[in-house]
């Protein structure tokens, strides 16, 4: 039928001319079509790809160079969910080097039946390079900001402590505001520096055995003050069926707990509760930070650990916040070979969980 032929010709022309790489497979995962951009990106000719089993010829690896399991590949996941799957990963070029790509895999469905898959591939080499340069700039700028800030803090404290003469109540109040603001700026600089260290793989991890319950107890006075400011009930519970000792970096551990708890306090309305629970298990130790806060909307939950992410319901209530806290926490937990996950219901609160393995191993350096 000429009409179908015309439609097909149009579809072929569109497939061949789109600016991103595109590959289609049949129901057996064998490549049926590949456009010129995809051929260029992967280094294979059309003849080398057509008829080949997609997962075998197109090797996918994580950014740390570890292999992605077949079940976890976007093309497989799209058939498990029936929905488009977006991911960033490396595809291996024919000549052996990795190409960082952003891909969208979608099932091809006709009359409710999956006939195959289409994967649209975008080369993000330049994007990653810009990101790396941006991180370097943030790192440099943060270091440069720290030096003048140290002078501001030192002299403000000297003024507040009366070294330059007695202060009246209005002057004391003004200095308290300056100290609080410079503390916030210092925290922000630390966060930015930590993020650049994680992203560049230069964060120093010094594993030493210590008791996690004692480390959390050490943090309680400072966290308690933050909670008291909002009349929030903060409690700490240990379920010590196994040892609470672990060989990991205590400073990073404390930073993770501080971040999660201060986040929970920040996003919980006055008179709510925040609970830290330590659950030592045979192979790992799990820490739960739960709150009775505003929660995270379902539609935003997959972005929670993204850089600069702030949920809609929070932006309306809290104007401050950088959206870097949970991104940093995830990176810090990764540096300790741990895992983080959460459950949340809008209006009811959030439970963040993280676990740290008892066996410490050096994490892979990001590429």
């Amino acid at each position: 039928m000429p009409q179908i032929t015309e439609q097909q010709a149009g579809a072929e022309a569109m497939f061949a001319s789109i600016g991103d790489g595109a590959i289609t497979t049949d129901e057996y995962g064998r490549i049926t079509r590949v456009n010129p951009v995809a051929q260029e990106l992967l280094g294979f000719t059309e003849a080398e790809l057509i008829g080949e089993w997609f997962p075998k010829i197109i090797v996918a690896v994580n950014f740390d160079d570890s292999t992605i399991a077949l079940l976890d590949r976007p093309i497989t996941k799209t058939f498990l969910t029936g929905k488009p799957v977006v991911a960033k990963l490396n595809y291996r070029h024919k000549n052996g080097h990795n190409v960082p790509v952003s891909i969208t895999a979608s099932p091809i469905i006709f009359e409710d039946k999956p006939l195959g898959c289409i994967e649209v591939i975008r080369d993000i080499t330049l994007e990653q390079e810009i990101d790396r340069m941006k991180s370097e700039f943030i790192s440099l700028a943060s270091h440069q900001l720290r030096t003048p800030l140290s002078a501001v803090k030192t002299y403000t404290h000297m003024l507040a402590d009366g070294y330059m003469g007695k202060l009246n109540p209005a002057q004391k109040q003004s200095l308290a505001t300056i100290i609080s603001a410079s503390n916030r700026m210092n925290e922000l600089i630390s966060t930015l520096l930590n993020i650049t260290r994680i992203e560049s793989g230069t964060i120093a991890v010094t594993p030493k055995s210590f008791k996690l319950d004692s480390a959390i107890e050490d943090l309680m006075p400072e966290l308690g003050l933050m909670a008291k400011d909002k009349s929030i009930k903060l409690s700490f519970v240990t379920r010590d069926s196994y040892s609470t000792s672990l060989k990991t970096d205590s400073l990073i551990f404390k930073e993770i707990v501080t971040n999660l708890v201060s986040n929970a306090i920040k996003y919980t309305p006055r008179s709510g509760t925040v609970t830290i629970t330590l659950k030592p298990r045979r192979a790992d130790i799990m820490i739960e930070v739960s709150d009775t806060g505003w929660g995270i909307p379902k539609y935003s939950q997959d972005q929670v650990f993204s850089k600069f992410f702030r949920a809609d319901n929070i932006i309306k209530r809290e104007t401050t916040g950088t959206g870097l806290g949970l991104y940093l926490v995830k990176g810090l937990i990764g540096a300790l070979n741990g895992k983080i996950w959460f459950t949340s219901e809008e209006g009811s609160g959030t439970h963040f969980f993280f676990s740290l393995p008892r066996q410490h191993r050096q994490p892979a350096k990001p590429k």
Partner: protein, 88 residues
């Protein structure tokens, strides 16, 4: 009702699949039923089998290169949809 003398149709699908997918079976089949048929695994009926098989086939084809194994597995699943003795 999905159940019969040999267990529910879901249990039978899991049993057949276990030969091919091993430990990943339960998670794989449960997700297929929930995502594509929008029902709980225990609500699976024989009438859902063909539609479920289309998605299983597409998913499994990305886990093994051998289309012969995929077809053999599909044939085993197809048998589960055939009327048992005494069933019309």
């Amino acid at each position: 009702m999905a159940g019969n003398a040999n267990g529910s149709i879901y249990d039978q699908v899991v049993k057949v699949t276990n030969v091919y997918l091993g430990p990943a079976t339960e998670r794989f089949i449960a997700r297929q039923v929930e995502n594509h048929l929008q029902k709980a695994p225990e609500e699976l009926t024989k009438a859902d089998l063909l539609s479920l098989m289309d998605w299983i086939k597409a998913g499994v084809s990305l886990l093994t290169e051998d289309s012969g194994i995929v077809e053999e597995y599909m044939a085993e699943l197809r048998k589960l949809g055939e009327p048992a003795n005494g069933e019309s």
